[in-house]
Structures are given as C-alpha cells and as structure tokens.
Amino acid sequence: VLNENDNLNWLPAETAAAMRDLARTVTEAPPLRLTADATGLAPARPRGPRFRWSWGAPLLAAVAVVALAVALGIVRNLPSAQLTPSATLTTPTPAPGTTAPVTTAGGLPEYYVALHPASGSHGAPNGLVVGDTVTGKTVAVVAPPAHSTFVSVSGAADDRTFAVAAAPTAGGPALDIGFYLLTITPGGSPAARLTQLPMEPLPGVIATALSASGKELAVATANSAVTGGPATRELAVYSVATGRPLRSWSTGNTSAIVSDAMPGVQFGAYADQYPALSWTDADRVVEFPVFARTGGTGPGYLVEVRGMSVTAADGDLIVESKILASFTGLDAPPCGTFFPMLSGNGTTLFCLVSSGQEGHTNPTTVRWQLMWQPRATTLANAEKFRSLPYIKVIGVPTGSAVYPATAWVSSAGSTVLIEWSVVAPGAAGGHRTSIRFGELTLKEDGWKFTPLPAPAIFAGGGLPGIAW
C-alpha cells in the first residue's frame, strides 16, 4: 500500500511493463471482413456509428521510415519490342522490331552483370561477373583494366550489351571515370568481351545509364566536388559509337539527380555511383530524381521524378525537363527510396518503404514491414492503373538492420526483381546474415514472389552494382 509520500518514479516503468504484459496476450487477429456489406459500398442499409477519420499530420510516427537507396545498376526493358535506332537524337520515333528483349520463359532477362572483387577478396579492385538469373551459375568473369576498378554497370534491353564505368584505383583529387562496353555471348569463346568506349574519361561522374538500344549513354556529373567551382549537376547523352556528346543540360539546383540533401552523399573522392538515371519511353526520355528537404510549415520532403526529352535543346536541366511524378512527405522521404525505379514504358514507379515500427514480437525479435508500392506516373492511364503493393513482413533479431532494394523492373512494371537482406547485430564487417532475392509477378489476385539464387553482390557492403 502506498502513501502520499511514496515516490512514484518506479510507476511509469512498471506501468509500461504491465501494458506490455497485457498486449502480449493478443497473438492473433480475426479475419478481416471485407465483404460488400461491411465496406458500406453495398446498397444502403443502417450501419453502426462510423468513426471519425483524422487526416491530420501522420500520427504516431514513432519510428522513422527508413529510406534505403541501394546503389544498384539502372536497367530497363522496352515496351512491345520497340527500340529506337536514333544515334543523332533527331528521329525520336522508334523503329519497330529492331531488337527484341531477350528473356527467360518467365519474362526475366536471362543474365545479369555484377561488380565482383577481382581477387575474390573484399577490398580488391572490382571485376565483373556474368551470371544466370534463374540458376545463379556464373557464365563469365571479367577482370578490370590495369589500375582500375569497376564502379557501376547498366544494361541495354537485349540483355547482352552492358555499359561499365571504371575508376582508377590510385584515387586522387579528380577521379576520372572511364567507360567500357561489355558484350556477352553465352556459350561463345570468349563468353564476354570488354571494349573501351571512345569517350574521354570524365571527372565527377555520379550516375550512368545505357539506353535500351545500347546506342546512347547517359552520364550525370557533379563537378563542383572535383573542380571546386560552383555547385552544379549536369546530364549529358553520349553516342556509344563515336563517344561524342549529343546533348547536355545543367543546373545549379543541387537537389537534382543525386541530392545534397541525401544523407551520406560524398562526391568525387570515392567515385560513389548512384542509381539515379534510367531511360524510358522507348529511349526518348532520360529520367532522374529531385530530392529536397523543404522545411518550414509545409511538407518536410519533396521527391520529384523528372523526364528529360533527348530531343530538347541544350539548356537548363530543370526548365527543360518535365515532372513524371511528384510526392511530398511530412516526416519521412515520400516514396521511401531516394531513387524510385521506373518501368521501361515510363508508366510505373516502384516506391519502396521499409519500417521497423512493428515493435517486438518477443524480447529478441522485431517485426519489419517492407512494402513495394507501384505508383502511377503522368504517362500512366490512371483509371486502369493497379496500385496494389507487395508487402513483406519479417521478424529479425533485435538490433538488426534490414536492407531492401528494387533491382529491376520490366517494361510494363508487372515483373520486378527485388531483394532484402539483414545484418544481424554484431555481424562481422556488416556482413549480411540473410539474403532473399527473387521475382515478383503481378497476378490477378496480387503479387507472387518466386525466390531465386541471390547474386553475390547482395552479400556484402562496399559499392554495389548489378544490371540486367
């Protein structure tokens, strides 16, 4: 029995423990009754009292949504086997049937190309490994050029042609990135051939993307980190055949492409690459994000996905480009990831929201929810668009970090390769103790996940890069 002089400092903790005890008695939920009657969309009939809905600021945001941008290679497919042969960028109308995407019977591209330490040990210069998407078997291994390490890879729609960026291993104040073309011929000898592109090495490269036709290479640079000049972002399109620049646009808006507002961004010194560019709309448009912290009394975050027509005149990147999708968020980056992945036809963005707010399921396990959410762009038919998300709930050891990613999206956005991995507390070197990788396919009744062998690139830290 307490008296008035008792100190109640112990009571909050004991109250919390009592509430947790009671909460733990709930271990299951009855089925959700989404019948016509229950939803209130059937012919009107008397219903019980309806609950007031609060549309205010998101509540109970106790745990921040974790926005994870895994630097994966940017890849895409093409709609209806339509490719543009344009090398001069003056004839944007695609020519039909010049190259068909090569896919497995299930619609997946057959092969991937991923960065891989050339000597097999972490920290060694990156070579490349060509792998079979379905079986996981290695098809070819490619060593890096002398004194170089590969830093990013992107693929054309034929699943046989890949552009690879390489940085010098010696480092230095201005890392000039060189560009190569990898052509794979499964069963051939050699199975993979690497050739240097006739492009001058470029400083300050932050993102690259090979067009679906394999004829153009989009390159984004942030030169201020290297030159010390005004902060800029530049997007340029080069001819793969000649190495000459075909178009370029720039802006002083450092929220564009790879934003200064993103945590952990470091330009220049480490040749960090980001999955910030992709080609869409039959190679007529290069897509890039704009991410900004807005602050003040409005929404705290802004993410735009913009499309730059390759026929637009050289000029300002923001002025000349058009918004394909725009999201705002109060408490966390909207759309989850900083780099939402776009389908090849430009209609669908995949947002990826990951959160660990489910709390403890027992003292040693925490529930995480991973959600891949298709969002319509301005190119989509809003009436027919299916926004059905795929949700994965996992239980992980308390203190774990969870890293999900969208690795590849098909042209129509109905087939997706996804990955999620877990770093358990105390794992040596941040080694991922659990990796799941596989194919999402959109069926009549929702998304179906089919596990596939996980490419080795997902296993460790360092600089990832993979493309299909």
Binding site: V1, A29, L32, L60, A62, G329
Partner: protein
C-alpha cells in the same frame, strides 16, 4: 529469419480492378498490422472484442478511402490514427451508455484476458491495469502513447492533437492518479 508472405483474400466483395487492388492491399496491411493495432486498442479500451471491432472498422475505413489517399505508403499511419480515434469514440459511447465505476473496474481485474494472460500477468501488474482502465480516456491514451508505444512528448502531442505541455501535465496527472488508486487499494 521468420518471414510471412501476404495472402489477401476478400470473398464476397463486388470487384472492379481498382477495388480488388484496394481489397488486397488493405487485407495485406491488416495481416501485417492487425495484432499490433488490436494490442493498442485493448490497452485503450480494456475489452478485447471491442478492440477487435475498432480495428476492423479502422481497416474498413482505410479500404473505403484507399483511392483517395495521397500516399498509400502512409496507410499504416492512417490506420493507427483511426484506431486511436475509434477508441476515443468507443469510450465515449461506453461512458454514455453505462458509466463504469471503480467497483466494476476492481471486478475487471479479476477477469484476466485469457487463461494464458492470467499466467503471464502478475497480481501487481493486474492492479496497475485495473487502475489504468478507470483513468479518464485522455490520461489513459497519454500513458499508452508514452509508455507502451514509447512515443516522445512531441510525437504523443501530435497523436493526441494537443500541445506538448498538455501531454506532460496529462501524463503526470495520470501517474499520480494511478499511484493514488494503488495506494488507496482501489485497484
């Protein structure tokens, strides 16, 4: 790692493509979050079946509004908000129809939520839970937010739609009242 795939099913629903998408999405969210939402509602209401009804209604509300959501990625936050609002409304209805008194609350503590629950919860903590049930709704909500959900004062203020100062004073009064009830043997 224990994984749980989503497998939404909504028999009886009059379907169009978009409605079907919404039904599957909301069902998947329900499978992911229903237990945690019911736990919150149970703490707020002290009654398992009412808690389940409130959560059910919250997800139905989400379904009805699915296509109007500005950001479906925040659907979970909307549901939590709806659950808290639903709990407040349920408390008001209950208080209007049959105002519970301390005697009833004292009886309640002799009715553990389940056989398993009885084994899990010590007598001391059952007294605290009984006291929690007779606190005014806003005080109980403040304690649930602060000590069960482990929200900050700022986050609790936003969740309750009050100022941070009100959260501090409400929480303080709730703890004092709980301590007083324990001291006086009223729970």
């Amino acid at each position: 790692v224990d994984t749980l795939d989503t497998g939404p099913d909504a028999p009886g629903w009059p379907r169009t493509a978009s409605q079907e998408d919404a039904a599957h999405a909301v069902t998947a969210l329900y499978q992911a979050h229903a237990v945690s939402m019911i736990r919150i509602a149970l703490l707020m209401l002290g009654d398992r079946s009412t808690a389940e009804d409130v959560v059910q209604e919250a997800f139905l509300g989400l379904f009805r509004r699915w296509h109007g959501l500005n950001d479906t990625g925040k659907a979970e936050a909307y549901v939590r908000s709806a659950v808290l609002n639903g709990c407040r409304d349920a408390v008001k209805r209950r208080d209007r129809s049959a105002r519970r008194d301390l005697v009833a609350a004292a009886l309640d503590r002799r009715e553990p939520p389940s056989v398993e629950g009885a084994a899990l919860i010590s007598e001391d903590r059952r007294r605290i839970l009984a006291g929690l049930r007779v606190l005014p709704g806003r005080q109980r909500e403040a304690l649930v937010c602060r000590y069960y959900l482990e929200l900050s004062e700022e986050e609790t203020a936003r969740a309750m739609g009050v100022s941070r100062g009100t959260v501090k004073s409400t929480t303080s009064r709730a703890i004092a009242a709980l301590g007083r009830m324990l001291g006086e043997g009223l729970c």
